[in-house]
């Protein structure tokens, strides 16, 4: 894979909270776990040797349970938190060496952030909130108004310009949060559990909105969630964190099919696999032998294939990528894929 479209890259990143992080860093590098570090030195291991590449135009989802270090990790990308050791490269440059003013430019122009609790300015109107990034750069209201309004319209908030945030519902507030991030015209968007505070229906709406915007804008998005369904829906690249360390990362489908760790198996156990897995993850890439029941697309979900097969298990389909045949999907393989595999069994 070529390196030239890697937008953000994290290299050997460590973060330790406590009195003397540098002092205990070596012990962590020697393999001390989070609990041991806490017990022996009273330091919290926030991040442990993180290496992640985030490709331009993709959504990288970072997932993990509460306390696994997701927020800590995303805050290193714009240096809201300083690392104990490691590098954060944006467009190939290590931002940790940057001066305060250069860092400020990065935050104003190249990265924007959406927050779990919205974090809008309560004393500013919706329009002023959406234009916050531009106002910070020094534009007057007259100059940023059009841009801010454009993005408010784009996220579906027409005619609310002069409302105050507390007059809006949570979902609408987060739309303002997204408009605010988009209005800064930055390439990179950081979203820390941006939809976690919303109720399920609104949440689905917002996910759809994000995907729709992404299809058009092709930003580099780093999205944090503790919800696997959300992660699978949004992720091009999925990073799973546990106790501050990456346990597995890669294409979500691959992780689902080959969980490398019992922790991840637990995660994926409750998922509706038929709805999430796609034909391409299950098919054989040999041309079909014998009769095919029909054609399916590589990106169809297994659920839709089951519906096509009317529940019968003795059928097979030809798989198309666009118009090109690329392989075969038998219902037997499909059924097998619906049962999560134990990693121990797979290894044996």
């Amino acid at each position: 894979m070529s390196d030239d479209n890697i937008k953000v890259s994290i290299r050997h990143l460590y973060k330790i909270f406590g009195e003397d992080p540098e002092g205990v860093l070596d012990r962590v590098k020697d393999g001390m776990t989070k609990d041991e570090l806490m017990a022996e030195t009273n330091h919290v291991l926030g991040l442990n040797d993180i290496n992640v590449d985030m490709r331009e135009g993709e959504i990288t989802v970072i997932m993990g349970l509460s306390g696994s270090g997701k927020s800590t990790l995303i805050r290193h990308l714009n240096r809201l938190i300083e690392p104990t050791a490691g590098e954060v490269l944006v467009d190939g440059e290590d931002i940790l060496s940057w001066s305060e003013s250069r860092l400020r430019r990065l935050r104003r122009e190249a990265m924007s952030m959406v927050f779990q609790k919205f974090a809008l300015l309560p004393h500013r109107t919706v329009l002023e909130n959406a234009g916050m990034a531009l106002a910070t750069e020094g534009y007057k209201r007259d100059d940023y108004e059009a841009e801010a309004r454009k993005w408010l319209d784009r996220v579906g908030l027409q005619g609310q310009d002069d409302q105050y945030p507390h007059q809006l519902s949570g979902g609408m507030q987060q739309r303002v949060g997204i408009a605010r991030a988009l209005a800064s015209n930055s390439d990179i968007m950081l979203m820390d559990e941006a939809f976690s505070a919303l109720d399920p229906l609104i949440r689905t709406d917002m996910q759809d909105l994000l995907l729709e915007l992404q299809a058009e804008l092709k930003k580099t998005i780093v999205f944090i969630t503790h919800d696997l369904d959300e992660a699978l829906k949004l992720a091009d690249h999925l990073v799973i964190l546990k106790d501050g360390a990456v346990v597995q990362q890669g294409e979500p489908q691959k992780i689902l099919m080959n969980p490398s760790d019992p922790y991840i198996e637990d995660f994926v156990a409750d998922i509706n696999r038929a709805r999430v897995l796609r034909v391409r993850s299950v098919m054989e890439s040999t041309p079909p032998e014998g009769d095919c029941f029909g054609d399916v697309d590589v990106n169809d979900t297994l659920e839709s294939v089951i519906a096509r097969a009317e529940g019968a298990v003795d059928r097979q389909f030809r798989v198309l990528d666009g118009d090109k045949p690329v392989g075969t999907l038998t219902m037997v393989d499909l059924m097998r894929a619906l049962v999560p595999r134990e990693s121990s069994a797979a290894a044996a």
Binding site: R105, F115, F118, A119, P122, A133, T136
Partner: protein
């Protein structure tokens, strides 16, 4: 024979004790105590080993009177140096007080009262409160306390203004530095708990009683505390998430302070201003003892000359002023709250 003779003897300090032996001139209290017969001291047969009790056993030991006298002497010694610095620095306060007192008392009532009502309108936008203010001032004017009330108000305006002018920046500085906060809080505690009269004592030594700044400083020192405290608190209480958002969008410290922290702390700051004004009023009455004009003078007259009616009506006038000031500042606070009531 004093109780603690033995103590000094065993410590081998007898010679030293007797060498400093010429007992100084007796104070009035000593004389009184002697005539009462100091042997059966108030604390029973064994007195607490206080300075005075030890002095009885050992004349070279300082008396407690030496402590107070020493303090006084020390203060007098630095007074001249202190006045050289403090006098010019605080002179503008005198000018402001004189000027404002002059303007507010010499402007005819039919101009002054509308101006005050206009100010009320600007900060509260409430007809009810304007009506209340008009009624209150009208009442005071009707019983011929108009001039006194205006003097009191003038002093409060100037002092509260200066309290805000200095208090808010001090509070901001405190909110930004934990170290400064640790140092400042005990000072604020002291300023707030010191009985108001005590402020006046050193000030009388420092300044001439004819200078308005004498009471101005006393009022400011006493009243500045809440606005400092609540500014500090208000800024520290600003939602961490919002501050983080400000950082994430690349705001400078300045933009953050004026665009986020101060606006969001404003309800707290205004609550501090409200308390500062109320405390100025309390202090301005006490400061009448050192020539502060206004309603306090009448209260004092009531006490001194036993003019019960004058004292009571003046007291009532102060209550009316207090309610007016409180309602007006509270209403403006409520207005700020309403325009940004956060979640």
């Amino acid at each position: 024979m004093a109780t603690y003779d033995g103590l000094f003897d065993t410590l081998g300090l007898r010679d030293w004790c007797d060498s400093g032996g010429e007992a100084g001139p007796m104070s009035m209290e000593d004389l009184m105590a002697q005539t009462k017969g100091s042997e059966e001291a108030a604390n029973g047969p064994v007195p607490f080993p206080s300075l005075d009790a030890l002095n009885e056993a050992c004349p070279a030991w300082p008396q407690s009177r030496d402590l107070t006298v020493g303090l006084e002497q020390g203060f007098l010694d630095i007074r001249d140096a202190l006045t050289v610095v403090v006098d010019p620095v605080t002179q503008p306060l005198s000018w402001m007080l004189r000027g404002t007192l002059d303007v507010m008392t010499s402007t005819p009532w039919y101009v002054m009262i509308p101006i005050l009502l206009l100010i009320t309108w600007f900060v509260t936008r409430s007809w009810k409160i304007i009506g209340f203010v008009a009624l209150g001032i009208g009442l005071l004017a009707f019983v011929d306390y108009y001039d006194y009330a205006m003097q009191t108000l003038a002093i409060i305006f100037v002092c509260a203004f200066i309290c805000v002018l200095f208090g808010v920046p001090i509070g901001i500085a405190m909110s930004r530095s934990d170290k400064l906060q640790r140092v400042a809080i005990p000072v604020l505690d002291m300023l707030q708990t010191l009985p108001p009269f005590v402020y006046l004592i050193p000030l009388i030594f420092l300044f001439s009683v004819t200078e308005p700044k004498l009471y101005g400083i006393a009022v400011i020192l006493y009243a500045i505390v809440p606005v400092v405290r609540l500014t500090d608190l208000g800024i520290r209480l600003v939602d961490k998430d919002v501050i983080e958002a400000a950082d994430a969008f690349g705001m400078t410290r300045r933009q953050k302070l004026f665009g986020v922290q101060i606006p969001l702390a404003l309800p707290n700051i205004m609550a501090g201003v409200n308390q500062t004004i109320m405390m100025s009023l309390a202090m301005v009455v006490i400061a009448s003892m050192v020539s502060a004009p206004g309603l306090g003078i009448l209260v004092l007259r009531g006490i001194r000359n036993l003019e019960l009616g004058v004292g009571l009506i003046a007291g009532l006038g102060i209550v009316i002023l207090a309610i007016i000031l409180d309602r007006v500042t509270k209403a403006s606070l409520a207005r700020i709250d309403a325009s940004q009531s956060s979640r």
